[in-house]
Symmetry: C2
Subunit: 209 residues, 2 copies
């Protein structure tokens, strides 16, 4: 059983290794990886050991090998194709978010119910009518549905995505969705990071006063 | 030492307890809380036990008491005031994100270097000139700086925020920032949740084929 926290650190390792590879560095130690990421070398060694034997004691990790292994573990080699449903502020921001491409994800379709948006483009991606969900998902070979509609519309959108044959759902609407057990669902809540910051800021205050 | 994963679950508990309180339910069991959140009752009891003795065996948690205790642990009673630096797609989305208000956070100021944006309003919040950072942070009593500028501008913005006396930084730019140790910094990376989804989708494929 791999912890969520470990899974969440893998893309950080992957992205750093790709930068290291760009710098033509063939071998990296857990100390140097830790320094670049602000994560302890012990944590990095423990995380990577979960997936097998990597690196050589006293030498380090083969950068390209570890990078490719991580890409495989994370499934990044699938180059997943995303459709964003709900082209409001958040949907528009995600359509323009550059970090996705750096991990092999691409946003290939946008959907909305707003007649004024349908037919326009955001970041060169066409906005389609939600009513055509099934044909859009097929036409653009969409793997992942991203839900950025208001909470009370989210379940309806999830049902449409599932009916259209989506393989996974990334939900930003602040509501609990019901989807078939075989469809992986990740809920994103931007206020969690902010609450963590509030927690750390409060701890500081406690220490000071 | 409280784990990051536990801290990340606390706002979910808090938000659910507030909904439960709105439903006039005075006592809730870890089973019911777990059902509403899709988290095991054992996990919930373990998380809450980290912070002391709550609830009564076989009866449950006092909803209002637990909610207030969690707000205190998370520092939400501070009603932190946010300034967003960089009013692009993501900054605009955050300025409109309703979940923050539900946890007591408020966005009180926006800053940008774009002359076309300065003086306009987004979600009724005025856009100020980054050059006036110090006076804006003081005028609006800003606690938290939110960085949504491109990676190569992020460190400069962080330095301005620190010089202006900010208490905490929430960074969305895909770069590692240097700030004084006494300023809590939380880095947000939207592609982490997406990578986790990719991981689960790949695991499913492995099982199927």
């Amino acid at each position: 059983m791999i912890s969520q926290a470990t899974i969440d650190r893998l893309p950080l390792y992957f992205r750093t290794l790709r930068l290291v590879e760009d710098e033509k560095i063939p071998i990296i130690s857990s100390d140097e990886l830790g320094r670049r990421l602000d994560i302890t070398p012990e944590q990095i060694r423990k995380d990577l050991a979960t997936f097998g034997q990597f690196g050589r004691k006293g030498i380090g990790y083969d950068v390209r090998e570890l990078k490719e292994k991580l890409a495989n573990i994370l499934g990044l080699q699938n180059n997943w194709r995303l459709a964003i449903v709900g082209v409001g502020h958040l949907g528009g921001a995600l359509a323009n978010y550059v970090n996705f491409a750096s991990l092999g994800f691409s946003v290939v379709a946008l959907l909305d119910i707003n007649k004024n948006l349908i037919g326009t483009k955001v970041n060169d991606i066409p906005v389609n009518n939600v009513a055509n969900m099934k044909s859009v998902i097929r036409k653009y070979n969409v793997d992942i549905g991203v839900i950025t509609v208001p909470a009370d519309e989210a379940q309806g959108v999830a049902d449409l995505l599932v009916a259209a044959g989506i393989k996974g759902i990334w939900n930003f609407a602040p509501t609990k969705l019901s989807v078939p057990a075989e469809i992986p669902l990740v809920n994103e809540d931007l206020s969690i990071g902010l609450s963590a910051l509030s927690y750390y800021m409060s701890q500081d205050l406690t220490e000071v006063y």
